[in-house]
């Protein structure tokens, strides 16, 4: 084939060698499943990061639909040393989207491998392939009238459980810690072997989605946020649909309230009184997801002044902090816990409680209630309109769920963001003990100067937080090597020893989470 319409090649691979590999991919997958022309690859190259597209341009994309095809792909990759970047639904916005961590990698796109293999309504679990979306699962559950509920990230309908869980993403129901609720995984290893975790290796087993650990080392975690295998099936537990769902919001007026909010909330989360992943969204997150745009208030350069934030609060009734949580269970259970919750807020002496009856169909309450009950919507993409222009990176440090810590992180983030003329747009996703402090670094990517500021800003956020002993739980592909450094050399040495053992040819997504046999020198 000499019709290649792209000059992008994998690192260290010449055109001739690459064409040989493409020929083999075509023989394996068929012409239509090997994409090597620029216009076919364009959709995989849309990124929201603070670099030019070329830095993450793929050399080709392959679509596979069976485990045997995935095995064939790794065989060819080993033969020609082709690095492959695997995506499931590829909706990893703000973390690199569908584009490879390094320019020139071949994308293995598993979107079309999309069978819902099993949903068990008695044992409450699902087993799915990589291309299954939450929207697809939601429709399946609805059509079959199954008494089950999903948990998902805000991109819900178009995202999927396998891809999200491989990056250890989170949702907003009591099953919001997705990796924690995952059970059973099938992985194609770099040598082509098909490995099933947990009880999956036992012949005739019916407990793959029932008991997580299996016997001996339990390796599911080792495959998440890693490049040790290609996950082709994943099981996870589903929450039974409760008889009563009671979402509510508590609105706080002052930015300084955050410390008291968190201290009040923690015992309620640790005791399980409030069982879901609560969010505490700041004013600009609330405004963005409520379709307020910065341009409606100001066109001044730099960060949005605090006076404008106050004005938005005044105009919309939104708070400096907006807490969304829910209760689940029978009416009696919900009533008992509602009293405990309202008593706690009364004792605090601040916070305006909004019930579903009061909120009605208004946004952002509606979309929050939907996310907390597993109903998909994309309302939160309004965040990308705050400044517009397609620039967004998640800066998501882990924090103790301790008021003083959250206040300190918020102050630190705001200072760095403002220094670079950007806004503090954030929420805390609240577990009993930890916070995913999720900050959307939003910028206009069409403006070169602003893009560079955002890039510097993100680097400085990482640096400044690291000085205080903080690190992020997940990051976009541009900064994956940088963040690996936050966690220390010993960890990286171990990760590379495992990589050498399982993928000696370094074909699986080198660079993923900073794991790359060609680049890591053992010193950083």
């Amino acid at each position: 084939m000499s019709d290649q319409n792209t000059t992008v090649l994998p690192e260290g691979i010449d055109r001739k060698e690459f064409d040989k590999a493409l020929e083999k991919f075509r023989a394996l997958l068929g012409e239509a499943n090997v994409l090597a022309q620029a216009d076919q690859l364009m959709p995989y190259n849309k990124v929201m990061m603070s670099v030019e597209n070329a830095a993450h341009a793929p050399s080709a994309a392959l679509t596979a639909t069976t485990v045997e095809q995935v095995q064939g792909v790794v065989r060819i990759c080993n033969e020609h040393k082709i690095p492959v970047w695997t995506i499931s639904t590829g909706r990893n916005f703000g973390y690199g989207s569908a584009a490879p961590v390094k320019r020139g990698q071949v994308i293995l796109d598993l979107k079309k491998m999309n069978r819902i293999l099993k949903v068990d309504a008695d044992m409450c679990y699902a087993l799915v392939e990589p291309g299954v979306t939450y929207g697809q699962l939601y429709d399946y559950i609805e059509k079959n009238n199954l008494p089950l509920m999903l948990s998902f990230s805000a991109p819900s309908a178009i995202a999927g459980p396998l891809g999200n869980t491989m990056d250890r993403g989170v949702g907003y129901t009591p099953y919001g810690e997705h990796f924690m609720m995952q059970c059973g995984m099938e992985v194609v290893m770099a040598n082509g072997e098909v490995y099933r975790t947990g009880m999956g290796g036992v012949k005739g087993s019916n407990t793959w989605q029932i008991f997580k650990w299996g016997y001996g080392p339990t390796l599911d975690g080792m495959f998440t946020q890693a490049n040790y295998g290609i996950t082709t099936k994943m099981g996870f537990w589903l929450m039974p649909k409760p008889p009563v769902f009671k979402p509510f919001e508590v609105i706080f007026e002052d930015e300084t309230d955050i410390a008291e909010i968190v201290e009040m909330l923690r015992p309620l989360r640790i005791s399980g009184t409030i069982p879901n992943s609560v969010v505490i969204a700041n004013i600009l997150w609330e405004a963005g997801s409520g379709n307020v745009r910065r341009s409606q208030y100001t066109t001044e350069p730099g960060h949005t002044p605090d006076s404008v934030l106050k004005q938005i609060q005044k105009d919309t009734g939104m708070g400096a902090w907006n807490l969304y949580a829910a209760l689940y269970g029978t009416q009696e259970q919900v009533d008992v816990n509602w009293k405990i919750v309202t008593d706690a807020f009364k004792k605090l002496g601040k916070g305006r409680i909004v019930t579903q009856e009061k909120a009605g169909d208004t946004q952002p309450f509606k979309y929050r209630a939907e996310l907390m009950s597993g109903v998909p919507n994309l309302q939160e993409f309004g965040l990308y309109n705050w400044r517009g222009g397609g620039g967004s990176m998640w800066f998501a440090p882990v924090s103790e769920a301790r008021g003083s810590e959250c206040e300190k992180q918020a102050r630190l983030a705001k200072r760095v963001l403002h220094k670079h003329g950007l806004d503090y747009v954030a929420e805390f996703i609240v577990a009993p003990r930890d916070m995913h402090h999720v900050i959307d670094v939003l910028f206009d990517r069409t403006k070169e100067e602003e893009r560079q500021r955002a890039d510097a800003c993100f680097g400085e956020l990482l640096d400044e937080f690291e000085k205080e002993g903080y690190a992020v739980y997940r990051v976009n592909t541009r900064f994956q090597e940088r963040v690996a450094q936050s966690y220390g050399t010993v960890k990286r040495n171990v990760e590379h020893a495992i990589k050498r053992a399982l993928d000696p040819n370094n074909i699986l997504a080198p660079g993923r989470s900073g794991i790359d046999l060609d680049k890591y020198d053992g010193n950083s």
């Binding site: 590829g90 989207s97 293999l117 919507n377 309302q379 993409f381």
Partner: protein, 111 residues
């Protein structure tokens, strides 16, 4: 006209119910269109942002947008809007959704 999606869904459900772990026939899947109809694609994907009551993306209904334009935006993405590869939304589905959008009434002008 796209074939009605009702029958296909019924068959898909039956397969899923009867043969949970068996392959839901790759050959069978290939003969269906990817999203069934333009209406379905709009409801399951595009409309989550572009429906007038959502307001994340601009309203598309009743604007007679040309298919080539829709395809270009979907494939390239456009600023805040993500792109979709053909594995997610194929060309046939883009043609169907373009046609479907043109059959919808334009929303009333806002005061």
């Amino acid at each position: 006209m796209p074939r009605p999606s009702r029958n296909k869904n019924a068959i898909r459900l039956m397969l899923a119910g009867v043969l949970p772990l068996a392959c839901a026939s790759a050959a069978y899947a290939q003969e269906q269109s990817q999203w069934g109809s333009g209406k379905n694609l709009y409801e399951k994907v595009c409309g989550h942002c572009h429906a007038p009551e959502v307001g994340v993306g601009t309203v598309l209904a009743g604007r007679d947008l040309p298919e080539a334009y829709v395809r270009s935006i979907v494939r390239n993405g456009f600023n805040a809007m993500p792109s979709f590869p053909a594995s997610y939304i194929d060309d046939e589905s883009i043609a169907q959704v373009t046609e479907y959008l043109s059959t919808l009434p334009a929303p009333a002008a806002q005061p």
